[in-house]
Symmetry: C2
Subunit: 210 residues, 2 copies
């Protein structure tokens, strides 16, 4: 398999954790997002959105969108599972993941921040925007897992929720958010730090890290 | 069951279509987003993000995030299915849905547009921003389904992809996007228009429509 990514992309980071947890190895093909390499025609031919990640499964199939890739990995390589068995519990885990993947990450990604700059928004206001999206979203996420058994977001094993949370906490810190306001999320992060699959997927461990 | 929504919310609209396709009836509890009713403490207690939709299943369970709700409905009420059986096909349908639910809708929702206005961005530039998010995203969506059998996004039956597409096309038109550039998406929309479950879920058919 081949994973098209970028060391700092939190969407690619989610998939790297999933692959590591499943014990699957892939070739990593970096695309430097700040240099616009994701807009090269050869890449757009496999990912018309010009986003990372993209997974090539080795049999000719091309998968896009991190959550769709992770659900596919979980369906085709069920161990260890990344979603609970019970439908209501699955819905809870997915809702948490989507609160990050829909309502935080796309509002503060490179493309949106670049668009703000094009509108003449000052750099400090751009950073404030990104911090706002993270603060507002993570604050809701903290509430979503308060009362859930730990140490991970939903119980004693990592799930899709943790795969989305850990990369997003990294973004929040980069934008200056005080994450100490989210003790339950930090508890999940501390538990994830103990797992090699998470540690090996971190941005600074990737070959294209700067 | 009770569905908390808003006639014009495209995320609530997706869930209304799913409920109708599954033949499930619910009480509809509208929250006027432009008046900020989604931020009332009683609503935040069930949906900490202050977003619609929220589904109460009647047994005390509370579900949030439209795609998590729809996956739950599909798992608990499998007929008619909203996802194919084959894992790779499921991944294609989910990737299309996520391209809308992550990368178009949240970038042009009420909350983000209000934030742009707070930054002093002029009204015409705010509309241009929303049109840009729709144009860029729908253009990629058109490519994702080009070559797929019709008339729906993925074949001869509606799927999660169509549930996300139809509401988004409505938004795109409201922001002045020329949707004639997406003939394959319009083919899916025309097929959906023939189905009562889609027609009954439309914003102008809801009790809170203005």
């Amino acid at each position: 398999m081949k994973l098209h990514g970028y060391f700092r992309s939190s969407a690619a980071y989610r998939v790297r954790i999933a692959l590591n947890l499943k014990g699957l190895s892939t070739d990593h093909l970096p695309h430097h997002l700040r240099k616009g390499e994701q807009c090269a025609p050869a890449y757009l031919a496999i990912n018309p959105q010009g986003l990372v990640p993209t997974l090539e499964d080795g049999t000719g199939a091309v998968l896009t969108q991190s959550l769709a890739i992770i659900e596919w990995l979980d369906e085709t390589h069920p161990n260890p599972p990344l979603l609970p068995k019970d439908p209501l519990r699955r819905a809870k885990v997915r809702a948490f993941a989507l609160a990050i993947a829909c309502d935080i990450h796309p509002v503060q990604n490179l493309k949106v921040l670049a668009r703000l700059r094009q509108l003449g928004v000052a750099e400090e206001k751009v950073t404030e925007w990104a911090a706002w999206a993270n603060r507002e979203g993570l604050s809701a996420c903290e509430t979503l897992v308060t009362g859930e058994a730990g140490p991970f977001c939903f119980g004693d094993k990592p799930s899709l929720a943790d795969l989305c949370l850990i990369p997003q906490l990294g973004n929040a810190r980069r934008f200056g958010v005080d994450v100490s306001a989210y003790p339950r999320l930090l508890e999940a992060e501390a538990a994830a730090r103990e797992i090699k699959a998470f540690a090996d997927a971190a941005p600074d461990k990737q070959a294209d890290a700067e």
